[in-house]
């Protein structure tokens, strides 16, 4: 892998005209946006690993079609991310089989992930269990080493700092079974703040997408991790995909939504690469086009400025701070979850069940305007109105 650092003077400044009016794009989007002048592949360095990668990589998680991996490599993807838990190990088997068949092991960066339980960290048994599971992964991958081994799904600061776990990872790195070690998390702020001072993890795999546009603390924490030398890989970049479950909801997201969402992530220069999970050739080609051009097209700008989408994209964090506002004591977090089931997971039956468990929408019937105010970004009244339109009761 070429270790040459990325040179920002190579790229063209392109202002984001809609940012001010929409007020939803991050401040980072107002900074330099990259456009390869000749359509060449954009690459960044993955922190202290020195690995130089195209900015779009592949999360293999949802793909079980070898042809997609082959085509991804043909297009220029060089980093493939899998995990022991995906499809019970079959995902690793597929990755290993394709890499071997194509003879490209020395040309690609392979990462896998092994999880542990927070309550079961520092015992000899736990350490041995981790090593055994990783050895099984290597066998499935048909490799004697991976490039990045993640401690998978760590969502607690103490879990992240576990001495026993860090000792095992460091040992595997020393043995050469992994070139670098990383941590993957959905609880970005506490976990990254816990591991940055340790200076142990080479890479962090974090959730970052457009729904976090207003979360300055989260973005700042990720940037801090990057500036400390950790390579940052972005996951969950597409914030749920394109499909809408019901004709009464706003229509299916437009195709440009997917490239817009991915560009929004990658327009943060502290993200080295993203691993969107595509399972069709069409999505692969669409997402990978972003690796040659980060400038927003007019339809993409329009999509990101669309207040309807912004409303839908405002995920409820289930903090419950809104509960005190409601005079009817409605279970607002449950209703927001229901909205997420209907809109994001396309599971209307689950949404209906959750509304029922929350006591229905009857208590909201008499309220002209919702008095509950989200301390973050959720438009509670609008989402409840959408639930009523879905006739989930």
């Amino acid at each position: 892998m070429n270790n040459r650092d990325w040179n920002r003077r190579d790229f063209i400044v392109k202002p984001i005209l809609w940012a001010g009016a929409a007020g939803v794009l991050s401040r980072t989007d107002l900074l330099l946006a990259e456009t390869a002048s000749s359509g060449a592949l954009l690459e960044r360095t993955l922190g202290r690993t020195g690995l130089k990668l195209p900015i779009v990589s592949m999360g293999v998680m949802n793909a079980d079609v070898p042809g997609i991996l082959r085509h991804a490599y043909e297009l220029g993807i060089r980093h493939f991310d899998t995990a022991a838990v995906y499809q019970n190990g079959r995902n690793e088997e597929m990755v290993g089989s394709v890499v071997k068949e194509m003879g490209i092991r020395d040309k690609v960066v392979i990462s896998t992930k092994i999880g542990t339980r927070a309550s079961f960290q520092n015992t000899a048994e736990a350490k041995k269990g981790f090593i055994d599971r990783f050895d099984a992964s290597l066998k499935r991958l048909q490799m004697d080493h991976v490039d990045i081994l993640y401690h998978h799904g760590v969502d607690d600061a103490d879990h992240a700092k576990s001495d026993g776990q860090i000792e095992v990872l460091a040992s595997l790195k020393k043995q050469g079974k992994t070139r670098f070690i990383g941590i993957s998390t959905h609880e970005t702020i506490p976990v990254l703040n816990a591991v940055i001072p340790l200076n142990v993890f080479d890479v962090a795999l974090v959730t970052i997408n457009y729904t976090m546009a207003h979360d300055a603390e989260k973005l700042a924490t990720i940037e801090k991790a990057a500036r400390s030398g950790m390579g940052i890989v972005a996951m969950k970049t597409q914030a749920g995909g394109t499909v809408r479950p019901d004709s009464k909801l706003p229509k299916e997201l437009p195709a440009e939504s997917q490239t817009a969402l991915l560009k929004w992530v990658l327009n943060h220069d502290f993200i080295a690469t993203a691993i969107p999970g595509f399972s069709t050739y069409e999505h692969l080609e669409q997402d990978f086009s972003v690796a040659r051009n980060l400038a927003y097209s007019e339809p993409e700008k329009k999509f990101l400025a669309d207040k309807a989408f912004v409303a839908q994209a405002e995920f409820c964090h289930q903090c419950g701070e809104c509960l005190a506002d409601c005079p009817k004591h409605v279970n607002i977090p449950a209703l927001m979850r229901s909205h997420m089931y209907a809109v994001q997971y396309r599971n209307v039956s689950m949404a209906r069940q959750t509304v029922a468990e929350a006591g229905g929408l009857g208590a909201c019937a008499d309220c002209g305007e919702c008095l509950a105010a989200c301390r973050k970004t959720v438009q509670i009244g609008r989402k409840i109105a959408q639930l009523k339109e879905l006739a989930l009761v």
């Binding site: 999360g59 998680m61 949802n62 793909a63 079980d64 079609v65 042809g67 997609i68 082959r70 085509h71 043909e74 995990a83 838990v85 995906y86 499809q87 019970n88 079959r90 088997e93 992930k113 999880g115 998978h152 799904g153 969502d155 993957s184 959905h186 996951m235 999970g277 399972s279 069709t280 050739y281 069409e282 979850r337 997420m340 089931y341 997971y345 599971n347 039956s349 689950m350 959750t354």
Partner: protein, 306 residues
């Protein structure tokens, strides 16, 4: 000292542990009842009595589509694709063994088969349990009706305990034990056992072909994949094969192949390989990487679906 205070001082040391035990029992019963009331169908699958009476370690944990990722992280996405409804997770101890039972309610038998088939390999050690199941050291997974059951264990006598637990749960689940009907119609010659899959999304990398059944055939050293894409009607099937034709024309080559039957094509590109396909009523029948006998297999499968 009053009589009442003497009474308390005398009997409290005796009564308090009894009271605590009683409260704990009532609490456990209440929590179990709570589990039974909120997840009655799942709860009864692990209700006492269980063979060898394993002791539950704590209360069962339940996961929803919203929270499943907390248990299996990114692995949750594929379960959501198959319309995952809920999961009951329970740990047990039995003598020197520790067991874990994960029961996934997938809502429909086809989806239970779908997620089960996504995670299994033809190479596993299959055993007669449920609709289909397999075992390896410390692991026993099976599916039956709408449920996908995953059992793990470690310690003395684990395999026997897992077998007993699996068969008990299978009896309690009852319901539909058959594999999807389409699969039973497909040719048996050269078919790789336990390779069948029900793919709800993007079969073979093409969204327009969903949902579909995929089966591996190995009549030559190189494996072929037979896919049965299920459309709503013949018009839908024609539309699907037209989209497939367009894809191959854009990425490789595609020509009509009337000798193969209704709306048939031959196609290939650099990353998928070779394909022959045709329609049969509401189905698109496709063979990826066909062998020399591929045409016969394709026609035979189509005829079986007629």
């Amino acid at each position: 000292m009053t009589f009442s205070s003497r009474l308390i001082r005398t009997f409290f040391p005796i009564a308090s542990p009894v009271l605590l035990i009683g409260l704990a029992f009532i609490g456990n019963v209440a929590r179990a009842q709570s589990a039974a009331s909120t997840h009655p169908q799942l709860a009864k699958l692990l209700a006492e009595p269980l063979p060898s009476h394993p002791r539950p370690e704590g209360q069962p944990a339940f996961y929803t589509p919203d929270s499943l990722y907390q248990y299996i992280d990114g692995g949750a996405d594929v379960y959501l694709l198959y319309d995952f409804q809920s999961l009951m997770h329970q740990e047990f101890k039995s003598g020197g063994a520790e067991l874990t039972a994960d029961i996934y309610d997938m809502g429909k038998p086809e989806d239970a088969f779908g997620i089960y088939s996504a995670e299994r390999s033809p190479k596993y050690n299959y055993i007669p349990v449920g609709s289909e199941g397999y075992r390896s050291k410390g692991v026993l997974n099976f599916f039956q009706d709408r449920y996908y059951v995953k059992l793990t264990g470690s310690g003395t006598g684990t395999d026997t305990l897992l077998d007993q637990l699996a068969h008990t749960m299978s009896t309690r689940i009852g319901g539909n034990r058959a594999l999807p009907a389409v699969l039973s119609k497909l040719p048996q010659l050269g078919r790789v056992r336990h390779s069948e899959q029900y793919v709800r999304k993007d079969p073979l990398g093409h969204s327009f072909l969903a949902p579909a059944y995929v089966v591996t055939y190995a009549s030559t050293p190189k494996e072929s994949k037979l896919m049965i894409s299920v459309a709503n009607d013949a018009t839908g099937a024609k539309s699907r094969i037209d989209q497939l034709t367009k894809h191959f024309k854009q990425t490789g080559e595609c020509t009509p192949a009337a000798e193969l039957g209704e709306n048939a094509i031959r196609a290939k590109n650099s990353f998928e390989g070779s394909v022959i396909a045709r329609t049969q009523g509401r189905y698109v029948v496709l063979l990826l990487n066909p062998s020399q006998d591929g045409a016969a297999l394709l026609k035979s499968a189509a005829l079986a679906l007629h």
